[in-house]
């Protein structure tokens, strides 16, 4: 009980309060109390510490070590120095391909998801009746989009005899096996990812609802049209949320795996057109059993994501408006 609580407590009189304070042992000084509090805090944090050390830090350190070894899963690792890293950049054609495929995927996915989610959020923010229902409907794909089941469904939808081709046939357009064609396979996977825009949309919607209505009223009185209100009021005020969503989407997109794995049967095909970085890493680790090589790839991915995130934070000073600066 704090002193304020004690003073307000009708049961304790002032003299009793003073007595209770005097009864604190002499040796229990302020620093001793602080130490006891710290111990309690550490005890509560212990499970988290155990988790981060055993499940995150230790495997990461092992992975860092393995990245400097030739480790074929079966057998013991042998130290090879920077050989894995050198081979990745000098003699692995597919590694370079996987980087290009991933950059294309991230480059199209992230802006498209942002665009879709913001557009739908703005539309839903117009005081529609049944907003909760629409919000839930748009959010559902985010919950299931990364699942194997949806990947399989997508495969059927965009397959040779899928729904997309059935619809095109109604308009007399001859369809094709979208996910079996190297030109269209990656766009199909990107489309699947864009379809899962719901999570970003909900965050945008929350941000839009925080903007005071009076700003729009004032702008309207001054003659601003809808686009100008959006451009001059909405967009600047939600830049912190755009930044947040962009960073999250960027990190997730760099690590995308399930959708490409399912639609290509784990091959990244046709002709490596859906060979995302994480998929190639998986192939090296679990199909070709090159765990040392795959660990080196994992560390390169970590560094790449770190750099991309750092770049976003650096750029944010030029375009993110926090209002208090």
């Amino acid at each position: 009980m704090s002193s304020i609580d004690a003073a307000n407590d009708p049961v304790l009189t002032a003299s009793e309060t003073a007595k209770s304070v005097r009864e604190i042992p002499r040796n229990r000084t302020g620093s001793a109390l602080k130490k006891a509090d710290n111990r309690a805090a550490y005890m509560f944090l212990l499970p988290w510490f155990a988790g981060i050390i055993l499940i995150t830090a230790l495997p990461m350190l092992v992975s860092l070590y393995l990245s400097f070894t030739n480790y074929a899963v079966i057998g013991l690792p042998s130290f090879v120095g920077f050989d894995n890293y050198v081979r990745l950049f000098t003699s692995d054609r597919r590694f370079i391909t996987s980087i290009w495929v991933t950059l294309k995927y991230v480059g199209f996915s992230v802006p498209l998801v942002l665009l879709f989610s913001l557009t739908i959020a703005v539309a839903l923010n117009r005081g529609l009746r049944g907003l909760a229902i629409y919000r839930s409907l748009f959010y559902v794909p985010s919950l299931i989009g990364a699942s194997v089941g949806i990947g399989l469904l997508w495969k059927e939808v965009f397959g040779e005899r899928g729904v997309v081709n059935d619809i095109l046939a109604l308009f007399g357009v001859a369809g094709r096996g979208w996910i079996n064609n190297p030109t269209f396979a990656l766009p199909s996977v990107i489309a699947l990812n864009v379809w899962t825009f719901g999570a970003s949309m909900v965050i945008f919607l929350a941000a839009l609802r925080q903007i005071p209505e009076s700003y729009y009223e004032a702008a309207s009185i001054d003659g601003a049209n809808a686009w100008q209100r959006f451009r001059r009021i909405t967009l600047p005020l939600i830049t912190p949320v755009i930044f947040f969503n962009t960073v999250l989407l960027l990190i997730n997109s760099f690590q995308s795996f399930t959708q490409a794995f399912v639609v290509s049967n784990g091959r990244g095909g046709p002709v490596d057109s859906t060979l995302l970085y994480s998929l190639y890493l998986y192939q090296q680790a679990f199909q070709q059993l090159q765990m040392g090589y795959a660990s080196a790839m994992a560390w390169i991915l970590l560094i790449a994501i770190g750099l991309a995130t750092a770049l976003m934070f650096w750029s944010s000073r030029y375009w993110v408006f926090y209002g208090d600066r």
């Binding site: 079966i74 397959g159 094709r176 079996n180 190297p182 095909g269 199909q287 090159q290």
Partner: protein, 448 residues
């Protein structure tokens, strides 16, 4: 009279001896004594679908019935996850005692710290390999010469075709394809049959990306696929392979590349051959029974036949054969080894077990059992075809020694190279260069 009694006694003795000998022959090794002392629990792993799971379960029940103190823990998985799981188990020294193994994957696991060398168990009679042909047994040896599995089934790849479409074409005057036929004769037949197929149907599944067809092509032209952990086939032979399928594709004899890819991974019920969209495809003949069952539902009245791959210009047969068998995990406890060995003996030697399995994962490796199955009126006709074709090609087949990671590497690299050629991204020459370079890189990586 006395002479008659003597004769009768001798005849009686002979009859008793014959019955005893016959019963010894029919009963599995060791089972004659009904080894009631055998006890313990082992884990047994295999790959396959529901039909194989059911058959395996029945065999396990039969074995456990004969050995009441033995328990077999079932561990099954689909093909690809099976190997991934075994790898992880091997890393943790937690592999099952009895492991279904295949010669194509053996080199990856054939090490004494993963699989137990079995020569000693064979020499001291614990493992019974009687009746298994020597070449089949030797195919189960690792690069170090040790025997690592006991083969129970020999598998091969062949072509499946629609018998009604073949008959329609024959009625229209197209000369039937009689084995042995060369690759050129094969292409001529497929081109000739095309006008007689239902509208939109292709004569043959595009096999440019199929490794079992490619292996047959290479070997039938007198070249090897691998030399240890190196690529052994020439660029020319790969170029010719790509050109062969590109010629058929551009002539409309085989399907477009998008369809090729989707048919490659399609379930049999969705496949072109099951839906009368294709005349011929390549599928393992041990699946003939399940393919026919599916076709009976999807396209009633259609029957599927099997035929070997074409031969080379000089008649050389290039078909690869491999063996499936059971290995013992190196982590298997010493007390469990007798159980694992008895289980292997039962699986490979017991006629009833072989009858239940019906050569589901390769033709049963003991020729006498294979013949018995083929002659058994209860055996499904599709399995009889499977066994008879095996008996036709076994003497001329050319088994490949697959290096560590070789099967996966050839499958992946051939898929990519031919896909790039078929989609017009690479010329056949460039495709061959890419195939050889990528394959060599993966083989070298696996051999490091």
């Amino acid at each position: 009279m006395q002479e008659f009694r003597l004769k009768k006694r001798v005849a009686g003795s002979l009859l008793a001896t014959s019955i005893l000998a016959l019963s010894m022959a029919v009963l599995p090794n060791g089972a004659a004594a009904q080894d009631s002392d055998l006890q313990g629990e082992i884990r047994f792993s295999w790959w396959g679908g529901q039909v194989r799971n059911d058959k395996t379960d029945r065999i396990i029940q039969l074995f456990e019935g004969q050995h009441p103190n033995v328990s077999i823990v079932r561990e099954n998985a689909d093909w690809a996850p099976y190997w991934e799981r075994l790898t992880i188990q091997s890393t943790g020294n937690n592999q099952p005692c009895a492991i279904t193994m295949q010669t194509r994957w053996l080199a990856t696991y054939a090490r004494p710290d993963i699989l137990m060398p079995l020569d000693e168990l064979v020499e001291n009679g614990t493992l019974d390999v009687s009746g298994i042909p020597e070449p089949v047994l030797n195919s189960a040896r690792g690069a170090d010469g040790n025997l690592y599995m006991i083969p129970h089934g020999v598998f091969y790849f062949a072509l499946m075709y629609n018998e009604q479409m073949a008959q329609t074409a024959a009625d229209a005057g197209v000369a039937p394809l009689e084995y042995p036929y060369t690759w050129d004769e094969f292409a001529e037949y497929l081109t000739a049959i095309l006008p007689h197929l239902p509208e939109g149907a292709a004569s043959v599944h595009n096999m440019g990306r199929e490794q079992d067809a490619f292996v047959t092509w290479v070997q039938s032209h007198g070249e090897d696929v691998f030399d240890g952990s190196n690529v052994a086939f020439s660029k020319d032979i790969a170029v010719q392979w790509f050109e062969y399928w590109e010629a058929l594709r551009t002539a409309g004899v085989t399907e477009p590349p998008e369809v090729m890819i989707s048919d490659n991974s399609a379930l049999i019920e969705e496949s072109n051959i099951a839906n009368n969209r294709g005349f011929m495809t390549n599928r393992p003949p041990n699946q003939l029974g399940s393919v026919q069952t599916t076709v009976d539902t999807v396209s009633p009245g259609t029957t599927i036949g099997i035929t070997p791959y074409p031969v080379g210009p000089d008649g050389t047969v290039g078909m690869d054969i491999g063996a499936n068998g059971i290995a013992i995990g190196a982590s298997c406890d010493e007390a469990q080894i007798p159980v694992a060995a008895e289980w292997i003996n039962f699986w490979t030697q017991n006629e009833e077990a072989a009858g239940i399995y019906e050569s589901d994962n390769g033709v049963v490796s003991i020729p006498a059992l294979a013949t018995a199955q083929a002659e058994d009126p209860d055996t499904q006709p599709t399995q009889v075809q499977h066994i008879e074709l095996y008996q036709q090609i076994i003497d001329t087949a050319n088994p490949v020694f697959w290096p560590a990671g070789g099967y996966q590497a050839l499958t992946d690299t051939l898929n990519r190279a031919y896909d790039a050629v078929a989609f017009g991204q690479l010329t056949p020459e460039q495709g061959a260069d890419q195939l050889i370079a990528d394959l060599q890189q993966q083989l070298s990586q696996a051999a490091r």
